[in-house]
């Protein structure tokens, strides 16, 4: 049972504010992704949890005990670094067993635990090798075993697969998720890849410019973004500027229901929520480009007012470049002053 709570945690580097005071509560056994572009403060937040940075203010509570001023070696956290950070002068076994050795554990016990940890990441036969003799994926597995063997209360991962190729990244991500579920270890995972976050997280914390934009399950983040930043950062999104008048707004050849006060607003529509209905030439939007992604087609259609709709359809929907279609939208969100103010969602 390990929970992690952040209360009013902030961080200043000199005059620069890297993290605005923020609060976050992570439940026992949960895997939470910190997602954001570089400079959003996600790595700083992770390093504060791990003890590598002292917060300028606030509390870091692990199982209710404040560790904000505790150095990393005394915290019940373990971190997987982006560069794997294996000690190249030690063997794989030496790397994994080092923490146990420091704790004064007996040799036979260390050997047994190290063996079990290496088996868990599928490297049971690699104990006597040096890190230089391993592939990138294997090194990161060793780094994970090095953390798991210590049975930390909180596992921290700082873009652990960023340097690996897509295929390997997908596989390791799945394995990490399986292990994490099996051990029920509370995990904070930093990434700038939305696919990564959407595919493994129980909850995603979207960050931007040192602030938490939104916290939610992958489905919530994807379908109910609360700010234009989240809407634009996660997945593809049509973001149309529009003027609301008398409870409605028109843009890109579509009239949107908008029961809010008159004025400027931003309308967000997912490409897969747009359907193209064949119409006559000169009417609706003209298809400029079709890109085939195998299972889906990504289409750009230009409306009469110059707005361009990004559309995604299944590959067997017949669409022709240069032809005219009437766009229809099933879901949309209206933002005003950087907040979602109205949402139309039939599902």
């Amino acid at each position: 049972m390990s929970t992690l709570e952040l209360e009013n945690v902030s961080k200043q580097f000199g005059a620069v504010s890297a993290l605005e005071p923020l609060a976050l509560r992570i439940a026992d056994g949960e895997l939470v992704c910190l997602l954001g572009p570089s400079g959003s403060g996600k790595s700083t937040l992770l390093r504060i949890i791990g003890g590598f940075e002292m917060p300028s203010g606030g509390k870091v509570l692990i199982d209710g005990a404040d560790v904000a001023r505790t150095p990393p070696e005394k915290r019940p956290t373990a971190m997987v670094f982006q560069s794997h950070a294996l000690w190249s002068h030690m063997t794989v076994e030496g790397n994994v067993g080092f923490g146990l050795k420091l704790r004064g554990m007996k040799k036979p016990d260390i050997t047994a635990k190290v063996g079990a940890a290496l088996n868990m990441v599928g490297l049971g036969d690699y104990g006597t090798r040096h890190p230089a003799q391993l592939s990138g994926g294997q090194r990161q597995r060793v780094a994970i075993a090095r953390c798991l063997v210590l049975e930390p209360k909180i596992l921290l991962m700082d873009e652990p697969f960023a340097s690996l190729d897509q295929h390997l990244r997908d596989r390791l991500r799945e394995e990490v998720r399986q292990i994490q579920k099996k051990l029920g270890i509370t995990t904070v995972f930093v990434t700038h890849g939305q696919d990564e976050a959407l595919s493994i997280a129980d909850r995603i914390v979207v960050m931007s410019m040192g602030r938490i934009e939104q916290v939610g399950t992958p489905a919530e983040i994807y379908t109910h973004p609360e700010t234009p930043f989240v809407a634009g950062f996660i997945g593809d999104m049509n973001m149309m500027k529009a003027t609301v008048q008398n409870g409605a707004a028109s843009t890109g050849g579509i009239r949107f229901e908008a029961p809010i006060a008159d004025g400027e607003a931003l309308i967000a529509v997912r490409p897969e929520d747009v359907t193209l209905i064949p119409s006559q030439d000169g009417e609706g939007a003209r298809v400029r480009r079709i890109v085939n992604y195998g299972a889906v087609l990504k289409i750009e259609a230009e409306a009469a007012d110059g707005a361009v709709w990004k559309v995604q359809t299944l590959k067997d929907v017949p669409v022709t470049e240069g032809a005219y279609y009437r766009p229809a939208v099933s879901r949309h969100i209206i933002f005003r002053d950087d907040r979602a103010v109205h949402r139309v969602d039939p599902s």
Binding site: P72, E73, S83, L86, W87, L102, A132
Partner: protein, 272 residues
């Protein structure tokens, strides 16, 4: 370049080869031959009589043994002291921030920018008033000053090259600051530090200017003894035998360096 290094005849390459043979291989070979020659008259290409007579003569002299002992003691003391003083300083330069840091680093370079002989003379004058001239301590101090640059710059670069994440990873699994240094930073920087230590040892062993100006006449190292012997008696063999003896430490150092720096560094996976 293309013209100079054509297949037909590489003038440049052969030129360098000739230069090396003439100025390095030949003199070394000659000295080596002289050390084992009891008789070598003019037209003969090789010594006319071989033998170890001059070796037993040289080795029978008590001043040779005392100079050898002095040299080894001096080099060991200077290397050890230099390590004790410079390695913590190098670590501080590499990992800590303090005012005047870059000025300190530059000052070690500046000391080497001036003619060393003049510097040593002024230090010798200072030592005279401190009663350090002609003492072992005095020579140790002057040699220490010589090794500062090497023993601070090289290890500083080595410590700096150790990845921060590696150190943080060690903290993360429970290592204290000292344990991080002992088990991660030092082993990572070790090949370079070993090279610096070996160079310090060899450098001190062969140094003559400082040893002579500050140590003479009471402190006599091997190189000083050799100079003296060559100056006083024109028996070539004495100098030759001493030269061959003097090669031993540098040869040993190079072999050790190959073992420690070469072999180990690869096993440790510098590619890491």
């Amino acid at each position: 370049m293309i013209f100079l290094s054509t297949r037909r005849f590489d003038f440049f390459g052969y030129g360098i080869l000739l230069f090396l043979i003439f100025f390095i291989v030949l003199p070394v070979l000659t000295v080596f031959l002289w050390a084992f020659a009891e008789q070598w008259f003019y037209p003969a290409v090789l010594p006319t009589k071989w033998g170890f007579r001059f070796w037993s003569l040289v080795l029978a002299r008590p001043d040779v043994w005392s100079a050898l002992i002095t040299s080894v003691e001096l080099s060991l003391t200077v290397t050890a002291l230099s390590a004790v003083i410079c390695l913590p300083a190098a670590y501080a330069f590499a990992r800590m921030e303090f005012p005047g840091k870059s000025m300190f680093m530059m000052s070690f370079l500046m000391a080497n920018a001036f003619p060393r002989f003049a510097l040593i003379i002024s230090i010798a004058v200072l030592f005279l008033s401190l009663d350090l001239v002609g003492t072992f301590t005095g020579v140790v101090i002057i040699q220490l000053l010589n090794t500062l640059l090497l023993m601070i710059w090289l290890p500083t670069a080595a410590f700096r090259a150790v990845s921060r994440e590696m150190e943080e990873a060690a903290r993360d699994v429970g290592a204290s600051a000292w344990q991080v240094f002992r088990y991660v930073t030092l082993p990572q920087a070790f090949p370079t530090i070993a090279a610096a230590l070996l160079m310090t040892f060899v450098w001190t062993f062969y140094e003559t200017e400082g040893a002579w100006l500050v140590g003479a006449p009471r402190i006599r190292t091997m190189p000083l003894l050799m100079m003296q012997m060559i100056n006083n008696q024109l028996v070539v063999q004495y100098g030759a035998v001493l030269s061959v003896m003097l090669w031993v430490p540098s040869l040993a150092a190079i072999l050790m360096a190959r073992r420690i720096i070469g072999g180990d560094a690869f096993a440790k996976g510098l590619g890491g």
